[in-house]
Symmetry: C2
Subunit: 275 residues, 2 copies
């Protein structure tokens, strides 16, 4: 059962927000759906957001509706973590808990009851979408920003037959070793780093996981570039594989939605050609 | 003296925010400026926002940067009222005070010391812009949303030689008689309604003010249509004048930025052809 929270007509389509009870995350979850003018059997593009975001940030600032409407793409924007008074959290820590689910399935108590964003995005929410909308779920693609770029990459590398294409804006490519994610990984997954590799793009590629093509845009003035993002680690990992990585360094751009919105239409075109 | 608050590269241009001390409003004021790639001697388009907004809402949700960048338009987005602890306000009233300056010059104590948005937008801020940027201030146009649409209309009708073109999204066309503005008008301007007519588009047109062409987009599902906006009053007022009004009623659209962003590029094209 999904419940409509809001709806607005935009660029000839509809921007909708729903809530539902997630069994995977044991809480109420919101997600946004943009339907283009003729959405029957339309392909579905998932957008995963970054740290601190909800479904709402990209919905307000991402500027995807014009192009999605033209291309006939459904855009689905989930939340970035479970939420609620009963969900364990660290209120003052923006890199863990609410808004920082890191798209993994936690194994450690008490987080394992709620922080299961990997299964939520790859399995539960697609089923919810399939049973409530007449989209073409045999054509799904995925992209995201920062932590959400990480999510899109790991989900594609682990499910190359599920997603037709993958791209990212400024993704965290090796979260196991990045300062803003490694402490969260330890809390969610325990201190045996062997168990972290399924949620780390570079580690997955080193283990042999592949995805045909990946498009990445990265701002050169992004203040998180050297410590948190380090796209060159992904380039190095892809170098001796069949993965075709297009890493586009964008001079002057930062980490914000001013950057994302600039290249949004490019990414939508990329996905539409492949989905 | 203006102070840069933030800057971000976007769509090949720059989204900037500044603050300065407004002499007209006796307080610190913020304003946003988008500069396209080649902005030397570029024309300037003013966007006036609606009730409750700051410069920020349209900057985040208006989706103007792509088209402004293509067309070489500078976009300036001022705040909607004076603000500050020393500025008289009614905290719980969204239709008066902070966020509700109604683009007029108040005559009543204590509001007359601060609430002078008409002079601020038409006189003070253009001078500030002129002395800090190398834009072409002989080519200015203006548009806005709701209360800001009202602002754009009255400023154009009173200064037909100052602005090259005027348009609006869902403007308040007769604020003197609309429920959400008439009580504010009384507090700012006193109870002699003769003094309100200079800030009322329909009244100005009835007095003989003209502007060559006006473009208006209005959503048919706008919940403020019948009580607050009533664009048909403007149609009636323009009927026997030389004003060429293009009023486009847009089925299914509401009052939000989902509506505004949809028609933003159209309005930018309209202004670019005339500026």
């Amino acid at each position: 059962m999904i419940k409509k929270i809001s709806e607005a007509f935009s660029f000839g389509g509809q921007q909708l927000v729903f809530s539902h009870t997630s069994e995977t995350n044991n809480c109420e979850m919101n997600f946004a759906v943009f339907t283009p003018p003729n959405f029957k059997k339309a392909p579905v593009l998932w957008y995963l957001s970054g740290l601190t975001c909800t479904h709402q940030n990209v919905m307000e600032k991402g500027e995807y509706r014009k192009k999605a409407s033209e291309l006939g793409l459904v855009i689905i924007c989930p939340d970035t973590s479970p939420r609620g008074d009963h969900v364990p959290d660290e209120k003052d820590n923006w890199q863990f808990g609410s808004g920082a689910g890191f798209y993994l399935d936690a194994t450690q108590t008490p987080y394992d009851k709620h922080y299961n964003m990997y299964s939520y995005i790859t399995t539960e929410l697609p089923k919810v979408i399939e049973s409530n909308f007449d989209f073409d779920m045999s054509r799904q693609s995925i992209f995201g920003h920062s932590m959400g770029g990480h999510g899109a990459l790991i989900m594609s590398l682990r499910n190359p037959n599920k997603y037709k294409s993958c791209s990212a804006f400024a993704p965290i490519v090796e979260p196991s070793t990045a300062s803003w994610s490694s402490t969260a990984f330890e809390k969610y997954l325990g201190n045996d780093k062997q168990n972290w590799s399924d949620y780390d793009s570079v580690a997955l590629i080193k283990k042999g996981n592949i995805f045909p093509e990946i498009l990445i845009d990265q701002g050169e003035e992004d203040s998180f570039l050297d410590e948190g993002l380090r796209p060159w680690l992904l380039s190095e990992a892809c170098a001796n594989t069949s993965i075709k990585l297009s890493l586009r360094m964008q001079p002057k751009y930062d980490h914000s939605y001013y950057f994302i919105s600039t290249f949004m239409a490019d990414h939508l075109n990329w996905h539409r050609e492949r989905i």
